[in-house]
Amino acid sequence: MASEKTRKETIGAVRRSFAPWTDPTKTPLIRFENVVKRFGDFTAINDVSLDIYEREFFALLGPSGCGKTTLMRMLAGFDEPTTGRVTLAGQDLAGVPPYRRPVNMMFQSYALFPHMNVADNIAFGLKQDKMPKADIDARVEEMLKLVKLTPFAKRKPHQLSGGQRQRVALARSLAKRPKVLLLDEPLGALDKKLREETQFELMDLQMELGMTFLIVTHDQEEAMTVADRIAVMNNGVLVQVATPAEIYEQPATRYVADFIGDVNLIACKVRSCQGDQAVLVTPITSSPIHVTQQVEAATGDEAWVAIRPEKLRITLDQPPDITENCFEGTIWDIGYLGDLSIYHVELPCGTRIKVSQPNLSRMVQRPISWDDKVWVTFAPHAGVVLTR
């Protein structure tokens, strides 16, 4: 129990102070410099510049076809940039074939060699380095222990479960101690529960080994859970690169706000911006919207207010102050999820907004029900104004 506690404290200490991207004296480990990749007429990557630092757990997040896998494959050496540069620890990777790059990749399909057993799969990369046999055996043993597969060393891949195969693939890609580990949708084939467990295992592993991990995923929860920083991609460009909390609370664009989590996007017109106080008006409610945020916009400009469903309050009684940040509507539909309930509130104009509330007690005297008249309110720091 005591050792558990000290370990937790170490994680906290490292995680809290880990932010090399804010330190201008640090040199990044991986640099993408104005990288463009075209396949025929199709531009998969359009002028991407990105720095990734040593020991970082970095996530590339985006819908399928956004170019995130192409970006990773350029680092692994399976694709070459059309223009621009990719450097790793200062070395330009142009023309370096995949088998000479100090990075290893864990494939989405795991790509385990079906004719080799687990131990031979893990040893495959080590054998290419002409490592002495005793050292290879020791390393394989160590890797098997790391992923808790020691009893399965002599099994063939098809004799393993999906979760076990995933761990063999991980062990194989870690065995050579690469400078960077690339993970291409590593947990896509696992069921939800196992996936969540494995996410935390991956984070622990990354801490323990002190390696740089680059993960490609379309699952925003996965990216938020594991990564120090996330790059949100769309149509071959980076939309925002920031920590999970920044991405969620201060999305740069409507696209990011909508892609990450649930959001109510309200089209507004700016009425006034003074210092860090902005007031906006919208046709869907008579009360103005007040947001505590510095906004670079003039009166009359178009803007959007993004509010997360969990940051809205819903009440049956009229709140004391209805001069701002207030909607009046009726309950259209309710989704009961156990830990929280999601309410779809229809405003008089027909627009529906989503509100989620934690179910704090098991019994409520008067639960909110279908067709109830409700009031939805929020604080000035709950919403965020987006101009793009």
Partner: protein, 272 residues
């Protein structure tokens, strides 16, 4: 719907098999005939098989045939596998459609035309006809069969396995021998066996391209039959049938087993 054996099914199967196998069965039975006259049954005997051992001409022809079949099957397997790899692996290169169409052409080309064109080529370049011209001709026409067999396996081959090997530091050529080849080996072996049997029983192309001292067994049999069928010929044919049957069955077992194992693995992978 009834799925059992109705009289109609049974009789059509019986008729079909009779049509296919009665001539062959007759040949096999008469090879054990004691009588010198082919059509008169004179009791069971294996004397014609022993007589074969003294028939130098037939034995020579058999030896030539086996050598041609082996050498041409080996070369055709290598070339056919390379062609199949090029066609499936390297995406859409210039002229790919033309090339893949051309690899199938010999499958449907009349043998007489293949034989004649090869003969013209050998004459044109002044190549002395004999063992090597027959072998070259057989490589030419069996190569496409190997390519087809190997290509059908490569279509379902997971290319990320190759990428994984490269990623782990294995250069391309080494990756071919450690990853690709072991996995497609069943298809390569059955391609080899197919090429071997095709070469073994080819008459038309061999007769066009052969020269003095390189008479293959089918050619020898054909020329002897024109002088009259002897029980010895029946015995040779029976042996030939036995060899072809064994090779074909072996090839299909190899492919079948590899295929069912692969399917089992894929099922397991899906389940996981």
């Amino acid at each position: 719907m009834r799925r059992g054996l109705t009289w109609f099914n049974v009789s059509s199967i019986a008729l079909g098999f009779a049509f296919l196998y009665i001539p062959i069965l007759l040949l096999v039975i008469y090879s054990f005939n004691d009588s010198r006259l082919v059509t008169v049954w004179g009791g069971f005997s294996t004397r014609w098989y022993w007589a074969l051992l003294e028939n130098e001409q037939l034995l020579d022809a058999a030896w030539v045939t086996l050598r041609v079949a082996f050498v041409s099957a080996c070369v055709a397997t290598v070339l056919g596998t390379m062609a199949a790899l090029a066609l499936t692996r390297y995406g859409r290169f210039f002229g790919r459609t033309l090339f893949s169409g051309m690899i199938y052409a010999p499958l449907v080309m009349p043998e007489v035309i293949t034989g004649l064109s090869l003969l013209l080529l050998f004459v044109a370049v002044d190549f002395d006809r004999g063992f090597w011209t027959v072998t070259l001709a057989h490589i030419t026409f069996t190569m496409c069969f190997v390519a087809v067999v190997v290509q059908s396996r490569l279509v379902t081959f997971d290319t990320t396995l190759v990428e994984a090997a490269l990623d782990l530091g294995s250069p391309p050529l080494k990756t071919f021998f450690t990853i690709t080849l072991p996995l497609i080996l069943p298809a390569v072996i059955s391609g080899f066996m197919l090429a071997f049997t095709l070469s073994l029983d080819d008459l038309v192309i061999a007769s066009f391209t052969t020269g003095p001292g390189a008479t293959t067994l089918p050619m020898r049999i054909y020329s002897q039959v024109r002088l009259g069928v002897t029980p010895e010929i029946n015995a040779v044919c029976t042996i030939l049938i036995a060899i072809v049957t064994v090779v074909v069955i072996a090839a299909s077992i190899v492919t079948k087993r590899a295929e069912s194992q692969r399917q089992a693995e894929e099922r397991a992978a899906m389940k996981g």
